[in-house]
Each structure stands twice: as C-alpha cells, then as structure tokens.
Symmetry: C2
Subunit: 346 residues, 2 copies
C-alpha cells in the first residue's frame, strides 16, 4: 500500500466544525465537494473515521408514488423519537429538490427550520456517474455530523438510482395501487434491493391486488437464482460476508401507508426497525457496510480516472469536442481513440 497524502490542519479544523454540527460549514463543504475541490476531499477523509454510526434508509419507487411525502412523514416520526435526521434527495420530482408543487414545498419548510434536520438535494443530471459518488459523500458528511438517521430519497428507475438505493442499510420501495406497470418495473430490478415495501395511497382501489402481486413476487424470489451482478463488476446488495442464502432469509414486509393522512407510519418505522435488528443479529450490517464501501470506492475511482483522463485529453490532444468531431467525420473510431487515450495515460 502506497502512503497517501496526509490531511492538512485546515482540513482537520473544518472537519471538527462539521462534527460539532456547524450548519454553514457543512453546507459549504457539500458545495465544495460538488465542485470537486481537493481541500473538500481532505475534509471528507478527515471525517471518514467518524462515520458509520448513522442508520441509512433508502426510499425509492416510481415518480408519483409519494416518496417525498413518505420521507416527510418519516422525518417527523424520527424527530418525535428525539432522533436527528439527514436527508439526501435525488428525486427530481421531490419537493426537497425544489421540484414540487407549491403546497408540498410549503409543508417542507417545517423541517427547514428544525436544527435537528439537515436536507441536501442533488441534481440527477450530475457528472459521469458522479451521482453515486456525490450521494455517498453527502451521506458520509451527514453521518459524521452525528445525524442518527439518514434518508436517501431517489427515483427507482435508472441504474445509478438503483445503485444509490443500495447505499442504504434498509431500502424501502414505495408502490401505489393499480399501477400494473409499476409492478413490471419492480420485477425488472428494484425487487432485489427492497427490504421493506410500502403501498402508499393505500386507500385507493386495488391495494389488495397490489399486495397479492407483491407477495407472489417475494415468493418467487425464493425459487429464482440470484442474478450474477459481479459479471459486470456490479455493486451487489449483499457483501461477500453474507451468504446469498442468508440474505434471502429476510422476507420483505409489506406495509400500507396513506402519507397525506399520516397513516401507517408506526407500522413503516416498525418494519424498518425490524429489518435493522435482523441485519444486526445476522451480521448483515457489516456486510452492508462493506457493500457501501465498495460502491463508494468504485464511484470515486471511476470519477477520478475519467476526470484525469479528460484533463490529459484537454492538455495533449485538444478539446474533447474536436475529438468527437473527428469521430463524427469518420477519421477515427471511438474505440481506437479510447484505446489511444488509455495507452497514453499509462
């Protein structure tokens, strides 16, 4: 192992202020991390040993399922228990990300004034795969800040979004009754990351049917061979320390909620708590931490490699746009060019 750069006194001081709960310093740090500041990364490295205490909950599901309302109610629920809460909103339709209709946004103001709650929204249109890295960074900062619970809210459709969900200790998949297509989408990818299902808007027609369909899918999970994600260096929901079989011993509970009326949140929080106990008793928490670490490492490495490659291209081979134009004019092909750039980096 090569020795890594030591952390400056300045970075250590900023880290101390973040750990003391200084909101301004924390907000500035998050902005600087977004801008790719090397100093901010130093602070993050200083914070790293003080992380791992927060419980991370992922909230995912299709647009319109009510993820933000559920996040909102969960914040209130945990606050009532005296817990501090961090929120990372990556859902473009989330009021936390500024994408909500007026009524919602006003409601969120309650939390904005609560010092026990820190909300950070991230754009879904980030850098090259930088969404996973940015989410991991913000989660670590909130963790080091001492937040007891961190809620990561994300649209559960894209592949990066599913990666983000796998950052969580407990992932809640939100569905609504009567959306056949939603169930299809879940089948296609989200099922594997679901630890708890919430049927929101449960007063709508079709809730029974949705629950039956979910139960059938969960049953199927027992007989279906797990997908070999690693074939593509994929972040898997289970770490190596957890045998696949062990993970399947957890049967995702199905909880019904009506977020608009604040109904079902004792049950939802209870289901999350049960999963937490299951993880801890089965040694799964460390495995999830390893998965999280793996995802963070790969996201950082990927961004790091591409960033330095692009800098080098800009220095040595002219602007990226000129390279693209050469490909478009068929003077070269993208594979040859990528090979050439990679060879020069060596």
């Amino acid at each position: 192992m090569a020795k890594t750069a030591s952390i400056s006194t300045g970075a250590l001081e900023i880290a101390e202020r973040v750990r003391a709960g200084d909101v301004r310093t924390t907000a500035r740090l998050m902005r600087n991390l977004d801008d790719g500041s090397p100093e901010a990364v130093e602070v993050l490295r200083a914070l790293f040993p003080h992380t791992g205490n927060a419980y991370v909950i992922g909230i995912t599901g299709s647009p319109g399922a009510g993820k933000s309302s559920i996040t909102d109610r969960l914040i209130a629920w945990y606050r009532k228990q005296g817990k501090t809460v961090g929120v990372v909103a990556i859902d473009p339709t989330s009021p936390f990300s500024g994408g909500a209709i007026l009524g919602d946004r006003i409601r969120m103001q309650d939390h904005a004034l609560d010092p026990g709650v820190f909300i950070r929204s991230l754009a879904t249109r980030g850098s090259l795969g930088g969404l996973s890295r940015a989410t991991a960074d913000v989660t670590r900062v909130l963790d080091a800040m001492g937040k007891d619970v961190i809620i990561v809210e994300t649209v559960g459709v894209g592949q990066d979004e599913i990666d983000v969900a796998s950052l969580a200790h407990t992932t809640v998949v939100v569905v609504v009754p009567g959306m056949g297509d939603d169930i299809q989408a879940i089948k296609a990818g989200i099922l594997e990351v679901a630890d708890v299902f919430a049927i929101n808007k449960a007063d709508r027609e079709g809730a029974d049917r949705t629950e039956r369909e979910l139960r059938a899918m969960i049953e199927l999970r027992h007989v279906t061979a797990p997908v070999d994600h690693d074939k593509h260096h994929r972040f898997t929901p289970t770490g190596p320390a957890t045998a696949r079989g062990e993970d399947y011993s957890w049967e995702p509970p199905i909880v019904r909620t009506i977020a608009t009326r604040n109904e079902g949140f004792d049950a939802l929080a209870g289901a999350i708590e049960k999963h937490r106990e299951h993880l801890e008793s089965a040694g799964g928490k460390l495995a999830r931490e390893a998965t999280r670490a793996r995802m963070e490492f790969l996201a950082i490495l990927r961004e790091r490699l591409v960033r330095s490659a692009l800098e080098r291209i800009a220095r040595e081979q002219g602007a990226l746009d000129e390279l693209a134009a050469r490909i478009a004019r068929k003077e070269t092909d993208p594979y040859a060019l990528a090979e050439d750039v990679a060879a020069r980096l060596r």
Copy 2:
C-alpha cells in the same frame, strides 16, 4: 496520434457478414460485445466507417406512458413505407425486453418474424455506466447492418437513460394526460432532450390540460438560460457546431396518439420527419453526430479505464471485496484508496 491496432481478417469477414444482413452473425456479435470480447470490438471498429446512415429515434418517458406501444406502432408505420427498422429496448417494462404482460408480448411476435426488423433488448442493470456504451454499440451495429431507422426505447428517468436518449437524432418524449408528477419529472430533465412530444392515451381526461402545460414549458424554454452541462463534462444535446440559439429555434411539436387504437401515427411520424428536415437544413445533423460520437467515446473510455483498473486491483491488491472490507473496518478511506490505485495505474 499513436497508431491503433489493425483489424484482423477474421474481424473483417464477420463485419462483411453483418453488413450483408446475416441475423445470426449479428446476434452473436451483440452477445460478444456484451461479454466485452476484444474480437467483437475489432468487428465493431471494422463496421464503424459504414455507419452514420441510419436515422436514430429515441423514445423516452415515464413507466406506463406507453412507450413500447408507440415503438410497436412506429415499427409498423416505417415498415409500411418500405423502411427497415432496428430497435434497441432498454426499458425494463418493455415487452421488447421481456418485461411485458402476455397480450403485449404476443403482439410483438409479428415483428419478430419480419426480416426487416431487428430487435435487441439491453438490461438496465449493466456495468459501470456501461448502458450508454452498450446502447451505442448496438446502434452502430444496426446502422452498419443497413437499417434505415433505429428506435431506441428507454425509461426517461435515470441519468444514464437521459444520456441514451441524447444518442438519437430525434428524441420523442411520451407523456400521458393527468399525471402531474410526470410533468414535474419532465421539467426536471427530459425537457431539454425533447424534440417532439407525444401525448399518448390522448382519449383520457386531461389531454387538453397536459398540452397546455407542455406549451407553457416550451415557452419557458425560450427565456431560460441553458444549463451548463459541460461543467461536469456532460454530454450536451447540442454539439459545438450548433449555436445554442439555433437549437432553440426548433419548437417541439406536440402530437396526440392513442397507440392501442393506432391513432395519431401519421402525425407523429410526420413530426419526426419535420425535425429531421430541420436538423439537416440547419446543419444540426452533423452536430448531433458529433454529440453522439462524444458520448460514445466517453462511455467507451470510462468503461475501458475502470475495467483495466479493476483488473489491476485484482492482480496486485487482492480482491475488490477485501478492499471494501478494509474501508468498512475504517483501516483506510475510499478516497485514499482510489488515489492509491490511480497512482499505481500511472
């Protein structure tokens, strides 16, 4: 420019068979590309000079909007015009990807038996950002195969999915009436890539309101400054050859369709054709080709760099899982580790 590896005779022969329309060879090539075979990449490089003739149409929108039905109807429409069609389906809910309800899947069989149609589905859960690369590869192969029109169907929510949409010459964003959340999601990212809007299920209540909302959003686009995607090395919908202002001279038409009844497809195909003419007359086609080339190059470079980094890690530093476990145990932090790995690659 360093010289790049020459292409073997074997690869050239396979490329010839693909260009001659050999379905088996093409299907095998696509599988081999998925598996990361270096020989398959050689074939792709041999095919590259013969690409750029197909017109690429992106179909995107939320789950449940009816993208697959629209794709289905467009295939039929172009076939009636005597055009050959390639389809790349990346939508997990698409019947083309095997995710459909029975009725849909049976309907698709029509095209499966038509030699003028080649359909390839891709898993959304690919490699590290490999979705863009895989889509670009398949599109190039279909292009070299001589398909006149290539339809890329993708869920328009995740960031990779939006990138994929930007591969297209014309991107159709599908919305359905009465889904306020959809409009929110569109606001948040898809609007910028929309060249044509299709209001599908237009017989549903609320179609007028949806159209009004879309028109208002398009109006706003004129007064809103374009987002600086390049800050994060983002793939922009417009290439450098196109002035930003020029691109905004295209006002996305709004077309109503009822895919289940095959209504509105002359209008939709007409709107696509009009955009094609606009692109060609304004010199925008070359700019889009450059954007496509840029996206392909970055996707390939990214995957290439991460793949070789991971191989090196496996050789020199033990399994990735062991590294992740060390981070989880707080023996190191992911930034230090990524820095270390990147330094060793140099």
